[in-house]
């Protein structure tokens, strides 16, 4: 992990920092044994006017892959997509030891350029052209969720309060400060009903991990973390053609498939990272992951069910709301948080531990969801 924030650093420098952190942590790893590199990066073409970033990232890290090298681009899911691609490559026998790095440099001197880049994630010609972007899109999701289920402004605010509480324990977070509900509800209106503290930030950062075949992984750690379930579903793209604004059907499918592959139920998960790009997103994730009934996500946060001690602690890292959201890096950082939880490498205030973890990434107008189940080995 690098420190996340509005960093005075280029994307390549962030790669170097993430590589240093990784190689300092996994001390007995010979770089020459890394045969594959997967780079999760959503839009370096827009944020850094740079294509073809995989060889450059590998060069920054001092790695020369001999089996697989590729970039994954799935907007905000680019990070988990890189892990999925590495998993598939290892599972197929093509790769043995893969380095996965997610990186995004989003802060530009003119932030309107960053917002333009973000708007190009939507169908630029038919949706983005109207000024639709992530905040106004998720604002409409929130408006409909409030309209259909009676979710309240305060309930959404509580998600932000919880995740900032966790972020305050995380030295890598962009916003490591607690906030009060009053502060959330009086922060700048970005797109009503959403306010600044309902939105994840424009953040620079990188995160890297190593994925290896089981026998090789055991040589490097006493607590290997295994990917035991993967699910991804994508449905539609143009906003007007989406089946629903308030039920994320692809999330239901992705979660069902990932849990089935892992052979567990959602009730067995001990700790989860879900994609709280906006406060309303986490509320809908409680529902569509099956943690509560549809429409009762607001009540779930109100009752503290996603806190430590509740039904399932969610986003102990601080989430996207507290850590920021460097698009390609988020999915990788989520997996690192679960790994650190399993290895007791997080501060006591946010320690959950356990045996089963779940990571969820979504992208675009929530038309694509990826879910991964992690199991603590030993």
């Amino acid at each position: 992990m690098t420190r996340w924030g509005a960093r005075e650093a280029t994307w390549k420098e962030l790669c170097q920092e993430a590589g240093k952190a990784l190689f300092d942590d996994v001390t007995n790893l010979d770089k020459k044994s890394i045969d594959s590199v997967f780079v999760g990066a959503a839009m370096p073409e827009r944020f850094a006017f740079q294509s073809y970033v995989t060889p450059m990232a590998a060069e920054q890290l001092g790695v020369e892959p001999t089996r697989m090298a590729m970039r994954t681009e799935m907007a905000c899911v680019s990070g988990q997509a890189a892990i999925r691609a590495a998993y598939a490559s290892i599972a197929s026998g093509l790769s043995e030891i893969a380095l996965v790095i997610g990186v995004e440099k989003m802060n530009l001197p003119n932030l309107s350029e960053s917002h333009s880049a973000m708007a190009s994630v939507l169908d630029r010609e038919w949706d983005g052209v109207h000024g639709l972007n992530a905040p106004p899109y998720f604002a409409m999701v929130a408006q409909r969720h409030m309209h259909e289920y009676g979710t309240t402004r305060e309930q959404m605010g509580l998600v932000s309060v919880k995740n900032h509480d966790f972020a305050a324990t995380n030295p890598f977070a962009h916003y490591p400060k607690k906030v009060t509900l009053e502060k959330v509800l009086s922060s700048l209106e970005i797109a009503p009903p959403l306010r600044l503290l309902d939105c994840s930030g424009i953040t620079d950062g990188a995160a890297a991990l190593v994925l290896a075949r089981e026998d090789l992984a055991r040589r490097h750690t006493d607590v290997p973390v295994f990917i035991t379930g993967l699910g991804q579903a994508t449905s539609g793209n143009l906003v007007g053609n989406l089946k629903s604004l308030t039920t994320w059907y692809p999330l239901k499918t992705a979660a069902e498939n990932a849990l089935k592959m892992a052979g567990i139920s959602i009730d067995q998960v001990n700790v989860a990272e879900t994609h709280d790009c906006f406060s309303i997103s986490e509320i809908m994730e409680y529902e569509d992951l099956g943690l509560c009934r549809k429409g009762e996500g607001g009540k779930f946060i109100e009752e503290g069910q996603s806190q430590i001690g509740g039904k399932l602690p969610i986003n102990t890292r601080g989430g996207l709301l507290g850590c920021g959201h460097p698009l390609g890096a988020t999915g990788v950082a989520q997996a690192i948080e679960i790994t650190w939880q399993f290895k007791s490498q997080v501060p006591q205030e946010r320690y959950v531990g356990g045996e089963w973890g779940l990571c969820h990434n979504l992208s675009g107008n929530a038309n694509n969801h990826a879910v991964m189940v992690l199991h603590r080995g030993g």
Binding site: D127, P135, P136, A191
Partner: protein
């Protein structure tokens, strides 16, 4: 006159390149210029598709006909962009954007809602088509409230 044809480089400008050298659905823009909101219907299976297409995703047919869509609809959802607008749209802030459900058609589309503030509007409010002509002569669609703002 005197304005550059496109103020931003093509690939930073959100509006589609709409003439026949760039897109096969140029009739959409030609019809819109005449005040008509249209889309394609598949001659093979009858599917009405939004956005206009050249191949039907349902039956794989590639014979399309242009049909007119209702110019009226209702607001299914909406918000107002008050900050963080994309390049070229900063000067428009604040502006309303919404999801419009076309009257009598099974089509919803995203549109800028001109002539209203967020506080003026409610879910279900009627809106009607407005044709926007850009400075460089291209056209695009927006919607406006059917009734005058009640505030």
């Amino acid at each position: 006159m005197g304005k550059p044809l496109i103020e931003l480089p093509y690939l930073l400008d959100f509006y589609p390149l709409e003439d026949s050298t760039q897109t096969r659905i140029h009739p959409f823009f030609e019809n819109l210029r005449k005040g008509d909101l249209t889309t394609t219907r598949c001659k093979g299976c009858g599917a009405v598709l939004w956005q206009p297409r050249v191949v039907c995703p349902k039956c794989n047919g590639d014979e399309m006909e242009w049909i007119s869509l209702p110019k009226e609809g209702t607001l299914f959802a909406f918000t107002e962009v008050r900050a963080a607008a994309p390049l070229g749209m900063e000067k428009d802030v604040p502006f309303v954007v919404g999801l419009v459900e076309l009257k009598g058609a099974d089509i919803k589309l995203i549109s800028r809602i001109d002539g209203a503030r967020y506080e003026d509007l409610s879910i279900g409010d009627p809106v009607k088509l407005k044709v926007l002509t850009l400075e460089d002569g291209r056209v695009f669609y927006r919607f406006v409230p059917s009734a005058p703002a009640h505030r």
